[in-house]
């Protein structure tokens, strides 16, 4: 199958360990070869851009430069990392911007394409493989995309920010029912979790209310910050999964250590999903 360049970012090695671990397990199982960007660094996250614009471009650009030495496209599981890498890519689109970056980082012999991890799975071949591992379950899932994978639209040019579909497509292919609900691309509060957690609590509550109203018993996302905010700041007990964890269950390769990392016990939903294998 495909060969990709993989940029896990810091979070997938730390707070979102279960996302990183499940991603790698799923890729291995599906026979997708992946190689991490050599000597990759932090993308700058939220900190760099609030302090120094140049740094917030140069940090992700350095990752692109290192990726350029490998063959293939870069796939990014974390929404924040994806957003930052795309902004660096955009900055290199004009000659002036590229010159300035190359002055610091050296010549780029190519600028690799950058995609969100979901896009890897909505490829026809991969979808076909997923469809061979259908879950027979009545668990209803609300897919939640957050902001950073979708906006700003003109830079990312990824999915329709008002009507994203990729995670729904992946789960539906696995036989999992997803609900239609209006807050798929609503903001969870993002980085405000540290400075003004009260705002995040209000936003998360709204998201949870609509997910419950729509009949969902779990939320599935692809963004580590969204996942943390949704689980940490909610007053109910709705588990929030990464989509790779659900694929892992369907493929029968899920591990207990993933579930231990969750702040809301996902045991109930996990066993229901597993029952459908």
């Amino acid at each position: 199958m495909k060969r990709i360049i993989y940029y896990p970012g810091c979070t997938l090695h730390s707070t979102a360990y279960e996302y990183g671990n499940s991603t790698e397990a799923v890729l291995k199982h599906l026979g997708i070869e992946f190689e991490e960007i050599p000597d990759w660094n932090c993308c700058g996250a939220a900190s760099a851009k609030s302090l120094n614009h140049r740094l917030s471009i140069l940090l992700p650009a350095r990752n692109l430069r290192n990726a350029a030495d490998l063959a293939g496209d870069v796939y990014v599981p974390c929404a924040g990392c994806y957003n930052n890498l795309m902004k660096a890519k955009k900055a290199m689109e004009n000659e002036e911007g590229r010159e300035e970056i190359e002055k610091k980082l050296g010549k780029f012999h190519r600028i690799p394409e950058v995609y969100p991890l979901m896009n890897l799975f909505i490829d026809d071949k991969v979808l076909k493989k997923l469809s061979e591992n259908k879950l027979n379950t009545d668990v209803k899932i609300a897919c939640y995309y957050g902001c950073a994978f979708l906006r700003p639209e003109e830079i990312l040019q990824n999915e329709n920010p008002e009507l994203p579909k990729s995670i729904d497509t992946i789960l539906n292919t696995l036989g999992v029912h997803t609900v239609e609900w209006p807050l798929k691309s609503f903001c969870c509060g993002g980085d405000l979790s540290l400075a003004s957690s009260d705002i995040v609590s209000v936003l998360v509550e709204k998201i949870l209310i609509y997910a419950i109203e729509a009949g969902a018993s779990a939320i599935v996302t692809a963004c580590p910050l969204c996942q943390a905010n949704l689980e940490m700041r909610q007053k109910t007990k709705m588990p929030v999964f990464y989509f790779t964890e659900i694929i892992g269950i369907a493929l029968g390769i899920d591990e207990n250590k993933w579930w231990k990392k969750h702040l809301v016990d996902p045991g109930n939903v996990v066993s229901k999903l597993k029952g459908g294998r």
């Binding site: 639209e153 003109e154 329709n160 008002e162 009507l163 239609e180 209006p182 807050l183 609503f186 609509y210 109203e213």
Partner: protein, 649 residues
């Protein structure tokens, strides 16, 4: 020796401020073939023209060069002046020393004077070689084609027909009236749209000079101003309209119901149907896509019940050929598709409707017989949110232009809603209120002050279904607060787009359309009803979004343009067009391919290429394409131009 007169215009200080006119005048006194070299402050003024006329008579001039502004401005002025003094107008040439010299070289006065002399020198060479020409005359077919049977098309057709000329009125749907017939009441007077319009539809339907061709589309247009050959496809209605009496029995008995396009999906109609109770003509068609007989091969109920045997399932489309001299394009508009604004749930939530759907809810002939009941459960909505600029003025998600009618019609909708549901609350989100027409601002003020409509300045971010309510998240930018309204129904003022197929029709007509598909006018200020193509005129929303008063005014103007064309005995065309040196032409046909106006064709017998003088615009494409140099433009032959360049060098 030729006798050429040179007249240099100061154009106030426009030319004289930069170019040393006495110097130029002196240079040309006694210059080869120059009989008189003169100047004047404003050559285009009456005294200036008199100088020119007098010189032609007194000095027996056989050519004139006027050194002044662009020929686009005053060439016609000086040619007419020369003609009145007895000189052939095509022996007058303009040396443009304003736009191409004084204006662009204001900081280099010496060089500008030299350049002006050079420009004049070259034009003297041209005048010396110019032939006297006569304008070309050809016949005009004094019949008009009007495309589109809405208020614009009907107005234009009736105006032209009343002047005594025949009109063919082509309408895509099977009755005329267009969008206006779907409206309930119209701003700013709140009078009933049908009551205003139906006298017009009836007049158009009955007019002896109007040939109504409904359920028809223009398929091919050939020819040129004054002489168009048109092919019109008359779509198969499966009902013989000559026999049909419009009794309506077939509609009553037809067992198949489907969504009504006239009610914008809110009501139902039968598979055999007329568009509305006031349809003109009042004849039904069978909709093949929903008819049970066409889908399943059995039924034939309409055939059985028709008392005059008018049903004919075998009917085929028919192509009708017509000749006309002028065309009015009045193809109207559509509104933005439902899938464009997913955050408002338009097309997803039943109670999020558009402005035209609200018109049907409010119309006595509509699906609720004029009662305001929401589509999902038929309840009377007590909280209704109206949102303006949905897709309009939004270059990122919709279209950048203003749709021009939404501010007014949503205000009107909200007021009509309050008339019918006095205890209901109407909220209107707006960017700003554009109430520019006569009586419009007063209407809006009255709505705010007396009808208690709540205007909120701000945008709506999202609409969500919550139980049987629609939660509207917006912002009030005047107070800087977020607004959340639990509404029963939401009405969107969606963007106005050109009607479907307008751009394709533009190609058929060879009339330019803009990037959105609206027809382009020839000049935005001075030729707002003329298209870029001669003989094709524009009316209503085909050109840009418009309200009814502006549409009717433009339709009247388009009719006046048609009539001023038909008022001429013969069509007069500039003779500065292509001609062929038959001794050099080998009949290869390269010019036929090169011509963008279909003005060139091969004479198969003589094996030479000929020019259709009425179609040729004198663009010169054939001249550069011709391998034998047989094609030439009159008074602009390569020899003349080489002489002009030689003089300059």
């Amino acid at each position: 020796m030729k006798k050429i007169g040179l007249f240099i215009c100061h154009c106030g200080s426009n030319i004289a401020g930069t170019i040393d006119i006495p110097e130029v005048k002196k240079f040309f006194s006694g210059y080869d073939d120059i009989e008189i070299s003169d100047d004047y402050k404003y050559m285009c003024s009456e005294p200036g023209q008199k100088k020119l006329r007098d010189a032609i008579v007194d000095r027996q001039l056989d050519g004139v060069v006027v050194a002044c502004c662009s020929p686009r401005m005053h060439e016609i002025t000086f040619r007419n002046a020369a003609q009145s003094a007895g000189l052939n107008p095509y022996k007058v040439e303009i040396a443009n020393i304003r736009e191409q010299c004084s204006w662009v070289h204001q900081k280099e006065k010496g060089k500008a004077t030299e350049k002006a002399i050079d420009i004049i020198k070259t034009m003297i060479e041209k005048v010396k070689r110019d032939e006297p020409l006569k304008p070309i005359e050809f016949e005009i077919t004094k019949r008009a084609l009007v495309i589109g049977g809405g208020i614009a098309g009907i107005t234009a057709a009736v105006d032209i027909a009343n002047a005594g000329y025949e009109v063919i009125l082509v309408e895509r749907r099977h009755s005329i009236g267009g969008k206006m017939l779907e409206l309930s009441e119209t701003f700013p007077t709140l009078d009933c749209a049908q009551c205003t319009l139906t006298p017009k539809t009836v007049e158009a339907g009955r007019h002896p000079k109007i040939k109504l061709m409904v359920y028809s589309e223009v398929e091919e247009v050939k020819g040129y101003i004054g002489n168009f050959d048109i092919k019109i496809r008359r779509k198969a209605s499966f009902v013989d309209w000559n026999k049909c009496t419009g009794c309506g029995l077939c509609q009553e008995k037809c067992p198949t119901k489907t969504e009504s396009e006239f009610d914008h999906g809110l009501g139902e109609r039968k598979a055999i149907y007329t568009l509305s109770p006031q349809a003109v003509p009042n004849k039904p068609i069978i909709d093949k896509n929903s008819c049970r007989f066409f889908r399943e091969g059995k039924c034939r109920v309409c055939e059985k019940v028709c008392p005059v045997q008018a049903i004919n399932y075998e009917m085929k489309d028919e192509i009708v050929e017509e000749k006309v001299g002028a065309i009015v394009v009045a193809t109207g508009y559509e509104i933005l598709e439902t899938d464009k604004i997913p955050e408002y749930g338009y097309g997803i939530y039943k109670d999020v409707i558009d402005g035209l759907q609200f018109e049907r809810l409010n119309s006595a002939s509509g699906p609720t017989a004029g009662e305001i009941r929401r589509p999902s459960d038929g309840k009377i909505p007590k909280e209704v949110v109206f949102i303006k600029c949905v897709g309009s003025r939004d270059p990122e998600k919709g279209i950048p232009y203003c749709s021009r009618i939404c501010c007014m019609y949503l205000g009107k909708h909200a007021r009509l809603y309050k008339h019918k549901v006095p205890d209901g609350q109407a909220y209107l989100f707006y960017m700003d209120i554009r109430s520019f027409g006569k009586g419009y601002e007063e209407f809006i003020q009255q709505s705010m002050e007396e009808a208690n409509l709540l205007y909120i300045r701000g945008r709506v971010a999202r609409i969500m279904q919550e139980g049987d309510k629609l939660v509207v998240w917006g912002v009030d930018t005047l107070s800087g607060r977020k607004v959340e309204i639990k509404a029963d129904m939401v009405v969107l003022g969606t963007a106005v787009l050109p009607s479907k197929g307008a751009a394709e029709l533009g190609k058929i007509l060879r009339a330019a359309t803009d990037e959105y598909g609206f027809f382009s006018e020839a000049h935005i200020k001075l030729k707002p009803v003329e298209s870029m193509t001669g003989g094709i005129y524009l009316a209503g929303c085909a050109q840009s979004p418009k309200d009814i008063p502006d549409t009717v005014a433009q339709a009247g103007a388009a009719a006046a343009k048609v009539l001023s064309l038909f008022g001429q005995e013969k069509m007069i065309q500039e003779p500065l067009i292509a001609c062929v040196d038959y001794d050099l032409c080998s009949g290869c046909g390269v010019c036929v391919v090169a011509c963008p106006f279909d003005a060139r064709m091969l004479d198969q017998e003589e094996r030479i290429s000929i020019v259709n003088e009425a179609l040729c615009q004198g663009c010169g494409a054939c001249v550069s394409a011709c391998p034998n140099k047989a094609c030439q433009l009159k008074n602009a032959s390569p020899k003349t131009y080489i002489a002009m360049v030689d003089k300059y060098l």
